[in-house]
Symmetry: C2
Subunit: 358 residues, 2 copies
């Protein structure tokens, strides 16, 4: 039993990690039909297997994963998708443990996913770690899955987005997606969730220095966590400060700011009530549908851009031409516009010959 396998232990059963190079070939994939049927039946092991296929770098696994996603598409969309962002140490695991447990108590089935394109799995930044969500990890109604790996941030996020669909098809109706906000990951998580929550530490002055632009604009809810013990006063001050700051810099929309102790079940219940109220409002007003439609188009455009980038970076002749053009631009030998014209023609040529080669 290696460390990787250990991290997939769930409810006492083993889900061998297919991503592991050796295990890939040890384990045969059940037929797509069977896996899909079991997944729609709520079978957790089938869900895990389907996610592993979606996350795989092997083309045949990817194709099987895409086929499963295609088949379950009619059974998706009926969950409340909640995105959580916050720096390492903001208390995301404790908060999500409390949030998920409260949802389970209300009869919901909760999936916790993560987007961490850094791939760094150190103590500070590990996401979707079962050992840090002790109560939730024990629940039969909860499913916790760490971030897929990969060095293309859009690729990592895309996998998580498909995993949301798989979880919904398997009957999970409250999906939490957490991220530490490395690079563009917040934009990706914002683009796959219905409610985007910014989890902050108390200590307004110091904290604000590090706030990334655009994050405040994306947030639908701001929680100042760790509002207990010595930090209570500071958390309240920070909440007041953020309310003001949002008034100054924010858009017209209302963004609730609350100081919160994730250790206090009553306060967690209040947050859940507030989230559910927003969810109801989003549904009845039609905003939920609009937001999700926009997100779908975002992922369409994003995937197209990703394909373009892959092509541009994957073709060594194009890479070489681009590099040499950039050098000529910087040394003043060519205008950026003439260079772009040259590069565009080289791009078309490469595409055409790649097509011929198929």
């Amino acid at each position: 039993l290696n460390k990787n396998d250990d991290s997939r232990v769930s409810r006492g059963h083993l889900h061998p990690r297919i991503g592991n190079q050796a295990a890939r070939y040890r384990k045969s994939i059940p037929p797509v039909e069977e896996l899909t049927a079991r997944l729609l039946d709520g079978d957790r092991s089938a869900l895990s297997r389907a996610i592993t296929l979606v996350e795989s770098t092997l083309p045949e696994h990817q194709a099987a994963g895409a086929e499963i996603v295609r088949r379950i598409l009619p059974y998706t969309g009926r969950s409340f998708r909640i995105g959580i962002t916050g720096v390492p140490g903001a208390g995301k695991s404790t908060f999500i443990d409390g949030l998920g447990t409260a949802y389970v108590r209300r009869g919901h089935r909760v999936a916790v996913l993560a987007v961490d394109p850094s791939g760094v799995r150190n103590k500070g930044s590990i996401l979707g770690d079962k050992t840090r969500m002790t109560r939730l990890a024990k629940s039969d109604a909860a499913f916790i899955r760490p971030s897929p790996s990969g060095n293309r941030p859009g690729g990592v996020a895309r996998k998580t987005r498909e995993t949301i669909l798989l979880c919904e098809a398997a009957g999970f109706d409250r999906i939490v997606v957490e991220t530490v906000g490395v690079g563009q990951s917040e934009i990706y998580v914002h683009s796959m969730t219905d409610l985007f929550v910014l989890l902050k530490l108390p200590g307004a002055g110091d904290e604000l220095q590090g706030i990334k632009r655009g994050i405040m604009e994306m947030a639908d809810m701001i929680l100042i966590n760790k509002a207990d013990g010595d930090l209570l006063d500071e958390a309240r001050r920070a909440a007041g400060f953020f309310r003001n700051a949002l008034q100054w810099f924010g858009s017209a929309r209302q963004v609730p700011v609350t100081a919160l102790s994730s250790l206090d079940p009553t306060q967690i219940e209040d947050v859940v009530n507030r989230m559910e109220e927003i969810y109801r409002r989003l549904k009845t007003s039609g905003e939920l549908k609009q937001r999700r439609d926009r997100q779908q188009i975002f992922w369409f455009d994003e995937t197209f851009r990703d394909k373009l980038d892959l092509f541009l970076n994957g073709d060594s002749r194009l890479r070489h031409i681009r590099q040499s053009l950039k050098e000529k631009i910087i040394s003043g030998k060519i205008t950026p516009f003439d260079a772009a014209e040259t590069f565009w023609n080289a791009f078309i040529e490469s595409l055409a010959s790649s097509r011929k080669g198929r």
Copy 2:
């Protein structure tokens, strides 16, 4: 003499607007060699003609314009490029009139250009209007040119960027580019200037509501204008507020914030001194070169993206496919990823057949 022609009157001479449909064919273009030579001699009329070629929508004029830009490239880059943004009514014209006049008094040659992709030439948003820069318009050492027209914002900005080069080749060593900040225009102006100045009105509370995210981050200098008469106190309060806000939300870099009366020549002189100090620092530290290199690469990438967009939107078959894919995505019949795959293949096919057709 129609209204269009009238707007190009400069120092008593007429520069017929070639963009005018009728005038286009009335006026023959001097050979590129001659125009280039006269431009490098500092001939204002040759400069105007060259800019008109760059701005033209006629392919043969564009080609001539591009050829002139290519030829003058070795004589460019030796100016201080200053970007100014501010909402209509912030007092840009009055400030630029004062700034330009101060520079002329110091022996500089000043060009004032504008980027206004909205194309709206109403009283509130007119940019580069000579009648509003009364002192500067009279000076032989100043050249004022309104925004080129066009409905592709990147295209409008690209023309202005080439116009900067033409002005530099004609001997102008202080270039001011103003914008009202419609759409992406601030990003474009920021990407063609060495110093980006945000001109604000007094009245912190109300004003901040409308501040666009990212603008504060781009600004190298913030001026609270109209700090005179009744507004003096309020402008000072606003300056203090902005200094705090920058501390909270800003990056580590120092952004000077000053309350300013554009009507007071002494205060304008102070601003000029400060700008020149920044320019010296940028040059000696090597930051100027770095910033301009980054800008060149930005324009290379931007022009490539622009070409891609033109192709995608110019091909009616592709437009149709994209529209129908988006509808299928939104109605849940296809995943955004499968749709992107389909669209990528359609794109390659269209490119290949467009190439065959050449």
